[in-house]
Amino acid sequence: MLRVTITISLKEGVLDPEGQAIAHSLGNLGYHEASDIRTGRIISFTMDESNHARANQKVAKMCETLLVNTVIENYDIAIEDQAGDE
């Protein structure tokens, strides 16, 4: 069993209105140190598979067909053995 974590972020240059709103609100609350705020999503799941390479390939396909809007988003796949498995 593997634990897969997909990190999805907006491509560079794509407007991130949510990030802007958060930056603004942080500023209002007195936190002025943060800049260049970007938001993203995470999808994680357990995968019934043992081979990392094969898993990676499959997950990439899932991303391309469903999970990620590749027109505006990038993704990054991290795979590790399920904790407590070994």
Binding site: G13, V14, L15, D16, P17, H24, N69, T70, V71, I72
Partner: protein
């Protein structure tokens, strides 16, 4: 940077969608070769989207004037007088290509764009509509596109707080690779407080307001003007991302600014962004404009003049201010936390001059940009007039109730509730009639007046016969408005067609424009705004042509409105406008032909008689005004029996229907003859007298019951609950089903 340093070439021009001839023409008019920024500006202004080069010749033939018209085509949106010193401002626009590439953002920014066209004129938007066309229900992309587009339309409209209360949703294989997403917005303004875009006043400050400029959708206008190929899917041009919050703030701030006596003229940055807004404002005013690109608020580092001028970032406007108004304006934009920058001034040079880092980076005479765009008289094949299918061969041997059930559960007629329940239809608290019937209707806030709105087009009719089909679209819109009790006032239209360089497609365009013009003249609903979307083709396959009609109407007192729901029993139901010949109803190219006879063929659609349409419309308005009818529904797709089923389902009642023996019942029940309505009345005598007075033929067909069933003749019975089940099932089931 010296301007001569970067000469462009024919190849670059071609990449931007300009032909070799057009490039030569530009060089001749300029007397030199343009640089990259200048060429970009030309290509945007001369794109089909901005210049209407293929359609202009024909659009000029449309009727655009009338007593009710305050501003016809040429402004950001059309403006009509609705009485009491008020004006309605409205327009429809397409976002077809972006919505196919990124359905959520494409649809959302389509809504945002059309809203800006309306509030730019000083009107507060009060209603949104959307006309959608998707591929076949079981095409692998359809559900993905439906779900993305619908949530995008809702995502923007719901957030900005304007009710989305009407539209249409169709499915057809010709849209498999090229969906249509048309959005319409309607706003209200005081008739004497309309803002236009023409710049004036030498030296007046030019300000930029709204969101920052990024690299979004550069060259969107050219993309919308080119044929699509499957490769584009992977090329993935930058799509614009909408920010409805910024849209809402920009709307409120702009309306506040316009109320503050600060604005000379104002224009939103839509397709081709800063380019089209600056060019149009200065050329319309017969002035010039100087813009310092370094003052434009930008989102990303290192943007070139070319990118700044052609960016299609959303939620931005360009304003010419009165000389002393800068501070007042600045205060308003500070309150709303929006970017505000003085980026230039009005000049009298007749040139658009762009500077950056103290150097001139573009210097273009406005006249050729605006007036010398080629106008093509493209060759066309006049479409041949199709023959009607033989009615008797279409009629199938089955019970009326069986056919009715199949039709109501088909993609043509099934309920669109799944779509419109994702739209906020009640915000602004003025919605009187919402989605689910004919036209929708909103109250003019603070008055008893009502504004009715609809969009319509039956593309299978247009495909078969562009002239009749376009007339029918206008006629149906007219009937939908009329069915609420309102008087149709004016139209907007979105011409969605394939590649106009093909004579067959150009023939469709010519036929449809002629039909639309004839109908709008006869019904006195002039065309006051519109949009053209051509090149809707993928890999050479053109869409079914869809000249979508948007129409508005007005009613003096919302107490006189009716909707389609029959809620009482014992009412008499009449067909208004039923001629004796319609006993053998028009089944050719009907829903019945396609669904029941499985005859999927572009046969002749039902002909439209404009004089009868007008006469029947007058009678309906008389009946509603006199409160002689409890419910009204126009008869269109599916025919009279479908219309009656919709009326009793909406009101949770039933009806006993009389079938006369000399009727060819399937034709009578499902024929799509035009110019007809169904009405329910508790006063048959008065109704018959009124019809006689107006010289309109009518036929009594049913009495309503409380048994929640349709009884067809003596023994053919179907419960309206069962019918509703079928009607409501289709779309949700499609959306939940597994992909093929």
């Amino acid at each position: 940077m010296s301007m001569e340093a970067e000469h462009t070439t024919q190849d670059q021009a071609r990449d931007m969608g300009l032909s070799a001839d057009e490039f030569d023409r530009i060089c001749t008019r300029l007397g030199r070769i343009p640089n990259l920024t200048e060429l970009g500006i030309f290509s945007a202004m001369w794109s089909e989207h901005c210049s209407y080069k293929s359609s202009r010749r024909w659009l000029k033939t449309l009727p655009t004037t009338g007593d009710q018209v305050i501003h016809g085509p040429g402004e950001n949106a059309g403006v009509v007088d609705i009485g009491d010193g008020m004006a309605a401002v409205f327009k429809i626009e397409s976002h077809n290509h972006p919505s196919f590439i990124e359905p959520y953002q494409g649809a959302a920014t389509g809504v945002g764009g059309i809203l800006r066209d309306v509030f730019t004129m000083g009107a507060r938007p009060v209603a949104l509509l959307n006309a959608l066309r998707f591929g076949e229900a079981d095409h692998p992309l359809t559900r993905h596109l439906v779900s993305g587009v619908v949530s995008g339309v809702g995502g923007y409209g719901n957030c900005i707080g304007i009710p989305t209360i009407g539209g249409e949703t169709h499915f057809d294989a010709s849209y498999n690779q090229n969906i249509l997403v048309n959005a319409m917005a309607v706003g209200l303004a005081r008739a004497d407080r309309i803002f236009l875009s023409a710049a004036s006043g030498l030296g007046n400050p030019v300000i930029y307001i709204g969101a920052k400029t990024g690299r979004d959708g550069i060259h969107g206008a050219t993309m919308a003007s080119a044929e699509f190929s499957e490769e584009d899917m992977s090329k993935r041009p930058t799509v614009q991302v909408g920010d409805p919050l910024a849209g809402k703030l920009l709307m409120e701030a702009s309306l506040e600014l316009m109320a503050s006596d600060s604005v000379v003229s104002i224009q939103d940055m839509g397709a081709a962004g800063l380019t089209s807004s600056s060019v149009e404002m200065s050329s319309k005013g017969g002035m010039g404009m100087e813009i310092d690109l370094d003052q434009v608020p930008i989102r990303e580092k290192g943007m070139t003049p070319y990118e700044i001028m052609l960016s299609e970032s959303q939620e931005r406007m360009l304003v010419v201010l009165k000389p002393d108004a800068t501070e007042r304006a600045q205060a308003i934009f500070d309150k709303w936390d929006l970017d505000f920058a003085v980026i230039g001034k009005v000049t009298d040079t007749g040139h658009l001059v762009l500077t950056s880092q103290d150097a001139v980076v573009a210097d273009l005479p406005l006249d050729p940009l605006v007036n010398d765009a080629p106008e093509y008289d493209r060759p066309y094949d006049p479409p041949s007039t199709p023959q009607p299918a033989d009615h008797t061969s279409l009629v199938q041997d089955m019970a009326l109730s069986t056919a009715l059930k199949q039709m109501m559960g088909s993609h043509f007629l099934a309920s669109r509730r799944w779509v419109y329940e994702q739209y906020d239809r009640h915000v602004m608290a003025d919605t009187v009639i919402e989605s689910g019937g004919d036209a929708a209707l909103v109250r003019v806030h603070g008055t008893n007046r009502g504004l009715a709105v609809t969009t319509d087009c039956t593309q299978r009719y247009v495909l078969a016969d562009p002239y009749q089909g376009a007339m029918q679209a206008v006629a149906e819109a007219y009937r939908n408005i009329t069915a609420t009790g309102a008087k149709p006032l004016a139209t907007t239209n979105n011409l969605n067609f394939g590649n106009p360089e093909k004579p067959a497609i150009m023939g469709q365009i010519v036929g449809a424009v002629k039909g639309m013009g004839a109908a709008c003249s006869a019904l006195d609903v002039p065309v006051v705004s519109g949009n053209v979307s051509l090149y809707n083709e993928t890999d050479g396959n053109a869409i079914s042509p869809a000249p979508v009609i948007g129409m508005i109407g007005v009613i003096d007192d919302i107490a006189d409105t009716v909707d389609i729901a029959i809620t009482d029993t014992g009412l008499s139901v009449y067909i208004i406008g039923q001629t004796a010949a319609a006993n053998d109803g028009w089944l050719s190219n009907s829903v019945y032909a396609h669904v029941i006879a499985d005859h999927d063929h572009p046969d002749a659609p039902p002909p439209v008689d404009l004089a009868l349409e007008a006469k029947h419309g007058d009678l309906i308005r008389h009946l509603t005004k006199q409160h002689l009818v409890a419910a009204v529904h126009d008869i269109s797709d599916g025919g009279a029996l479908v219309a009656l089923a919709e009326m009793v389902m909406a009101g949770q009642t039933g009806a006993d229907i009389t079938l006369s023996p000399d009727q060819l019942t399937h034709g009578w029940a499902f024929g799509e003859d035009q110019g007809r309505y169904l009405v329910a009345t508790s006063d048959p005598t008065a109704l018959e007298a009124a019809a006689a007075k107006y010289g309109v033929e009518i036929q009594k067909i049913a009495v309503t019951n409380d048994r929640q069933e349709l009884k067809l003749g003596d023994s053919d019975i179907i419960s309206s609950t069962e019918l509703r089940g079928v009607f409501e099932h289709w779309l949700p089931a499609l959306m939940e089903s597994k992909p093929r």
